[in-house]
Symmetry: C2
Subunit: 263 residues, 2 copies
């Protein structure tokens, strides 16, 4: 388990924990510590670098916060895989966004059925509670590994038109636009973090209690009618959402407010 | 612990689990089951509704995925508090965004110091590794409850100008714009989900292993120079990021690609 530790610089103003952090980061990024491999224990690192446990813990904690390491309760510290990310500055389906970056996307279709809309789904799609909706469960595979579970609800009239579409390789967005002739407008998105439950554990092959990025997304057609409501669950250890935010007009009015408050 | 269960509709095509889910959702939203209170056990719910454990588990699992309930390992199922959310369609500081919705924001300043930039911070801010940067740790309180831990790094020349600013009630964004005369441009944001580590547990008063929404944000001035790099850690159980995504030009080129592939 022990690997030769890079010697620490003896006389420097850089704190010991930062030197250890930088040394470990180099070894993680150059593959000395490979993705998913277990890191040496805190005890071993103390011995390797000749430092206290608190110093090692601070270095490991920082690397964990950077996303390079993750802890499994009772099992130790492991090296994260490099995260895939989706740029969501414009509305795109997952395959559309990821294949342009060279990833191969395939979907497992877990279920496709007509159900009665529950209160939440009905409210988001502007339907009566109990109205028929098409419900689709898919797992998206990124380079053959499960990365997200997608639950999709569409009004039945639209949903039935997807029954014969190729849901294994195509995005629902592109099927709607190209096969159904429904141009998309915008989506309202809400993001938070939850722990994996049984269905997510099963679908994404993660441990119970793993961190999951949850996306609630309501997509509208170009006329502004809601047509596609989704819950997306992404593996927290394997995926990032990225986007750019501009400081436009909102900045100005806020500035005035702040100035008023400061007086 | 047992509360009177709403009678299930005996003859209907709505599955039992969906009826229980809808009944429980009504009682959560109307406060019968109050935020942070413990739900009846699966066993008790089976008895109350006269259904099997698998039916109850499906109802609870769906409500958990909606964010209305959360599980604590070995302790049971609890009612979530309604989540606060920040609309991030334009670049705003947290207080700026949240106070416009009627929330009171106050910050705990945990530390303010000059440190040597580690490799990651230096790379993001376009500095040499080891260059002096101002490092600020703050906890943001939303209506007096901790909701996020913010680690901020700024080039020292800019950071020192914040030393005497009111970091307890003001956003760094507004101090930069209004006191330092640095107009903000855009930010690059990456979002993922992690589990709370020791520092987050301490700062946000959550249990170890709680889900955390992690935001990596690099803010640029109006000329495009990176000036403010942050790690934001939001309580997964208390907060949402919301925004709108438009299907602009990207949609068109993607459409052409898809059409080509389909041939």
């Amino acid at each position: 388990m022990s690997k030769p530790a890079s010697p620490l610089v003896p006389v420097t103003s850089v704190p010991l924990y930062a030197q250890i952090k930088d040394a470990l980061r180099v070894q993680i990024l150059d593959g000395t510590y490979a993705p998913h491999s277990q890191m040496p224990s805190e005890h071993e690192l103390c011995a390797m670098y000749g430092v206290s446990r608190i110093t090692v813990r601070q270095a490991l904690g920082d690397l964990q916060k950077e996303g390079l390491l993750f802890k499994l309760h009772g099992k130790g510290t492991f090296v994260s895989k490099p995260k895939a990310f989706q740029n969501v500055s414009s509305l795109q389906g997952f395959a559309e966004a990821m294949s342009s970056m060279g990833y191969e996307i395939v979907n497992q279709l877990r279920s496709f059925r007509v159900v009665e809309a529950d209160r939440n789904v009905a409210a988001r799609l502007g339907l009566e509670e109990g109205a028929p909706v098409t419900e689709i469960h898919r797992v998206r595979l990124l380079n053959r590994e499960p990365v997200s579970l997608e639950l999709t609800w569409l009004p039945e009239a639209l949903g039935t038109r997807l029954a014969n579409a190729d849901l294994v390789t195509r995005d629902i967005f592109l099927i709607l636009e190209n096969d159904c002739g429904v141009p998309l407008g915008h989506a309202d998105v809400a993001i938070d973090a939850i722990l994996a439950d049984d269905e997510i554990v099963d679908a994404l092959r993660v441990e119970e209690g793993s961190p999951v990025l949850r996306i609630d997304r309501l997509t509208h057609d170009a006329a502004g009618t809601p047509i596609d409501y989704e819950h997306l669950y992404f593996r927290g250890d394997a995926f990032q959402y990225r986007f750019r935010i501009d400081r436009e007009k909102a900045g100005k009015s806020a500035k005035h407010n702040a100035t008023r408050k400061a007086r």
